[in-house]
């Protein structure tokens, strides 16, 4: 289907089903229950999952295939966001031209930086990209936000003000990013029994775009171009002596991944029309590196999993506080309750970084191939068990 083989088609279908049904899947607990804390099915986080998924998929095209480790990809995400917000400020809140511009600007920017940085390889390349991104960040944060020439609005972040021209804005259109009138914030709210689910227009726009981008990534992975990129990683010497010029291949990969990043940045602005300079900082570049490695560099689905994993921790674990812990453990006797809260306390709320750091280490120590390998191992284990005894499997389920 769609020019993919059976295995890839089923992967794409699974991803499509998961993203389309995400509002259900991510809200497994009844709202109001103690476990509702772990629900992730609200618009903002769902949007972030897919947007960072796109970012990581694109990054993986460069890093996973060619092995070139860029430490400055956040810069492309940042310029994407800035372009989109400028589009909002100058023309209209329609997201299509904004996203298109962010991809184009990111492509140009990555062409420039890639052309220069790819003159070097290995860690020298990494540091060149890092240096460019850090320069972009520093300039965006201060110099480019001076009152005379305010391109980025610095620390506060670029946003739309009432006195912006917005040439094509009409009163009948929503006063926030929209797709031909459909506001990105509009959410359909569904209550089924104790459960509640949100279907958000912005999320579905992002989800559809992510599926397209995922599909394109599969095509790239399976194409002669993708094979050449893997050849770049495997043996550049042989490639050179086989009459192939590695430079344009890596540059193309760099620009493509830069465009993915720009698209992600544009979508972020489309979901929330504010572009902060921190998105370009090295920590943001490092984050996408971690997402990709954590999920499994070079695999198709890994980066998406990695992105989801990190964003989940950032948004869910950071919000758990002692009050919630007391609720969870309230069934225990008082002494035990306090003890459990005491034990868990360092890992939640302000300690979410600690949990994340430990998870990084555990994953990379025990699952060298990242979360994808974990999935594979789990799959194999289940299959083997399934062969063993059917009843063992039924026992298994309630425990999960």
């Amino acid at each position: 289907m769609l020019g993919l083989d059976k295995k890839d088609t089923s992967l794409l279908v699974i991803v499509a089903i998961l993203t389309l049904l995400a509002p259900f899947i991510l809200n497994p607990f009844p709202s109001g229950s103690a476990m509702a804390q772990f629900n992730a099915g609200y618009p903002d986080l769902m949007q972030r999952f897919v947007i960072f998924g796109i970012f990581a998929i694109g990054f993986n095209i460069l890093f996973g295939l060619t092995g070139y480790l860029s430490f400055g990809h956040a810069a492309f995400l940042g310029v994407g966001s800035y372009s989109a917000v400028w589009m909002f400020k100058l023309f209209s809140y329609n997201v299509i031209p904004a996203i298109a511009l962010s991809v184009v600007v990111a492509a140009l920017f990555s062409l420039l930086i890639g052309y220069i940085s790819l003159r070097r390889s290995g860690i020298y390349f990494s540091i060149l990209t890092l240096a460019f991104a850090q320069m972009s960040f520093a300039l965006a944060y201060s110099v480019l936000s001076n009152p005379k020439f305010n391109l980025t609005n610095g620390e506060t972040g670029l946003q739309v003000y009432a006195d912006d021209p917005q040439l094509f804005h009409r009163d009948s259109l929503p006063d926030m990013p929209h797709l031909f009138g459909l506001s990105m914030r509009s959410t359909y709210h569904l209550d089924i029994g104790a459960w509640s689910f949100d279907f958000n227009a912005g999320y579905y726009l992002c989800a559809v775009i992510m599926m397209v981008m995922f599909y394109l990534a599969i095509r790239i992975f399976r194409s002669p171009f993708g094979m050449m990129l893997r050849a770049v990683k495997s043996n550049q010497q042989r490639m050179n002596y086989t009459g192939l010029n590695p430079r344009p291949y890596t540059l193309a990969a760099f620009v493509i991944s830069g465009m993915y990043a720009g698209l992600a940045g544009g979508l972020m602005a489309a979901m929330d029309p504010l572009a902060g300079a921190e998105r370009m900082q090295w920590t943001a570049s490092g984050e996408v590196v971690l997402m990709t490695i954590l999920g499994g560099a070079g695999t198709l689905i890994g980066p998406v999993l990695g992105a989801g994993f990190i964003k989940y921790f950032e948004n869910i674990f950071s919000k758990i506080n002692d009050n919630i812990l007391h609720q969870w453990f309230s069934f225990l006797p008082d002494g035990f309750e306090d003890f459990m809260v005491f034990i868990v306390h360092p890992f939640i709320g302000k300690g979410w970084h600690l949990t994340l750091g430990i998870m990084f280490m555990l994953v990379v120590i025990f699952l060298p191939g990242g979360l994808v390998e974990g999935g594979q191992r789990l799959g194999n284990w289940l299959r083997n068990r399934g062969k063993g005894a059917a009843e063992a499997k039924t026992k298994q389920e309630p425990a999960e």
């Binding site: 709202s31 109001g32 629900n39 609200y42 618009p43 903002d44 986080l45 972030r48 520093a138 944060y141 201060s142 110099v143 936000s145 009152p147 610095g154 620390e155 506060t156 972040g157 946003q159 009432a162 006195d163 009948s172 259109l173 929503p174 926030m176 929209h178 031909f180 009138g181 459909l182 506001s183 914030r185 509009s186 959410t187 359909y188 709210h189 569904l190 209550d191 089924i192 509640s196 949100d198 279907f199 958000n200 227009a201 929330d272 504010l274 902060g276 921190e278 998105r279 950032e314 948004n315 950071s318 919000k319 506080n321 009050n323 709320g349 302000k350 979410w352 970084h353």
Partner: protein, 450 residues
């Protein structure tokens, strides 16, 4: 709990605008239409406390969180009631807000505008928070304030000192209790004149971002009005950790006062560096060299340790302030947590109480009703003395404290001493002051999210 009326509303509105074209199939309809975002329907009302929990300002965020939790206790009638007993408005009864028990959710701003918006959104979208409070930087405050305006909830700012928060970026749904850079300048100027004379030459080191610039602008304006001369204003990168190369040329520049428009870690390091270079031991232009830190906080004072001795600055509040409200607050905070409250803690505590009180007086949680009740509200008994929430820009006007690093602190908490309580009249300015966006700055329309 029924969440996200906000967004459902949004859809209804958009649907109406865009016509039948975007009609989505209706499977189930949500319960009765709410009048505003996250209208509390059960027996509880949820507040969102969005403070930095990771990064350099984590301790400050933690202090804010402690104060917010204390405020919730007092609202729910637990503890000793704190400022509920001293607050001049007697609308709060200690039975929650409008009879609903107060619960809260917390989030981590990471002192980044993106992350702060993400966590505020999650509180609004997922947890049904009806008010967002907290934060320790102006960038975050402006970003979250904009978000709350769009979402239709009330934003009660935490620590934010830049003029823009209630200046050019002011919003109808946003309120600031904390003072601002202009007030710092206006309050400090007479004290500086008294202590250092009218013919000083000042050298500014300024953190190179929005807040730093507005503070520099304010201090330069008010000191030049005294007759001071500004020798140089140097911007330092926010990411700097060592300021020696910025401090080193100061002595040679002909300046005799160093103004550090830095906050947090920047200020701790630049002040430490300045002391290392021995600036305070020097004589320049025949006068003793002086250092001014326009915005102080207790945590900065703790971080800077002995270096703050004798250094002047301003604060929104200090626990040593002796009035009825302050005493009640310090007693209840100190007894619960074993330390006196910081000024960011106090501003968050006051903001939560003010919000609750406004709801009571308005008789509704509707942001527009609450905003109306807050606008022009005059009160006392929350620790700062007589205070006005000005209707035009949602800025609180109250006395400003000028403080100095104590020479002989007796414990870890009295490292700052109050030099002067600058009366509110001196720090007043018109709402259309040029530093605050001039005539163009408007609050816009209040947005209830419906």
């Amino acid at each position: 709990m029924s969440n996200n009326e906000l967004t459902r509303r949004g859809l209804l509105r958009t649907g109406a605008v865009a016509g039948a074209g975007v009609a989505l199939p209706t499977i189930f309809t949500a319960s009765s239409a709410a009048a505003y975002t996250n209208e509390p329907t059960g027996g509880t009302v949820t507040l969102g406390f969005n403070v930095p929990q990771t990064g350099p300002y984590a301790d400050e965020g933690n202090d804010e969180l402690l104060a917010q939790q204390l405020a919730v206790e007092h609202l729910n009638g637990e503890g000793d009631g704190g400022c509920l007993n001293t607050f001049t408005s007697k609308a709060l009864k200690g039975n929650g807000i409008l009879g609903k028990k107060v619960t809260f959710v917390t989030g981590d701003t990471q002192t980044k505008s993106d992350a702060a918006r993400a966590s505020a959104k999650s509180m609004i979208e997922k947890d049904g928070a009806i008010m967002i409070n907290g934060g320790s930087s102006s960038g975050v405050a402006v970003a979250v304030q904009g978000l709350c305006q769009d979402a239709g909830v009330i934003f009660m700012a935490g620590l934010t000192h830049a003029n823009d928060t209630t200046g050019k970026d002011r919003k109808a749904n946003g309120f600031r209790h904390f003072f601002n850079a202009y007030m710092s300048g206006a309050a400090l100027a007479p004290v500086l004149a008294k202590e250092m004379g009218n013919d000083r030459r000042a050298y500014h080191l300024t953190a190179d971002y929005n807040w730093g610039w507005t503070q520099e602008e304010s201090i330069v304006a008010s000191t030049e009005a005294l007759g001071w001369e500004t020798v140089n204003t140097v911007k330092t990168p926010l990411a700097s950790t060592d300021f020696s190369s910025y401090i080193a040329p100061v002595l040679n520049s002909g300046a005799d006062v160093l103004v550090l428009n830095h906050y947090g870690g920047n200020m701790v390091n630049s002040l430490t560096n300045a002391i290392q270079f021995g600036l305070l031991d020097k004589v320049a232009n025949g006068k003793d060299f002086k250092i001014v830190v326009p915005l102080y906080s207790e945590l900065m004072a703790a971080g800077a340790g002995e270096n703050i001795k004798g250094v002047l600055g301003s604060m929104n509040y200090n626990w040593q302030l002796d009035n009825e409200g302050s005493r009640a607050f310090v007693k209840s905070f100190g007894e619960k947590y074993g330390k006196p409250p910081s000024n960011s803690a106090q501003t968050c505590y006051a903001q939560v109480l003010l919000y609750a009180d406004a709801c009571e007086r308005a008789g509704t949680f509707n942001p527009c009703g609450v905003a109306e009740a807050l606008e022009g509200f005059e009160f006392d008994g929350l620790g700062n003395g007589k205070t006005l929430y000005r209707a035009e820009d949602h800025q609180c006007f109250k006395d400003v404290l000028v403080v100095r690093g104590a020479q002989n602190p007796t414990n870890a908490y009295d490292t700052l001493e109050i030099v002067e309580i600058t009366p509110v009249e001196q720090v007043m300015y018109p709402p259309n002051h040029p530093m605050f966006g001039g005539d163009e700055a408007t609050l816009g329309e209040c947005n209830p999210g419906a």
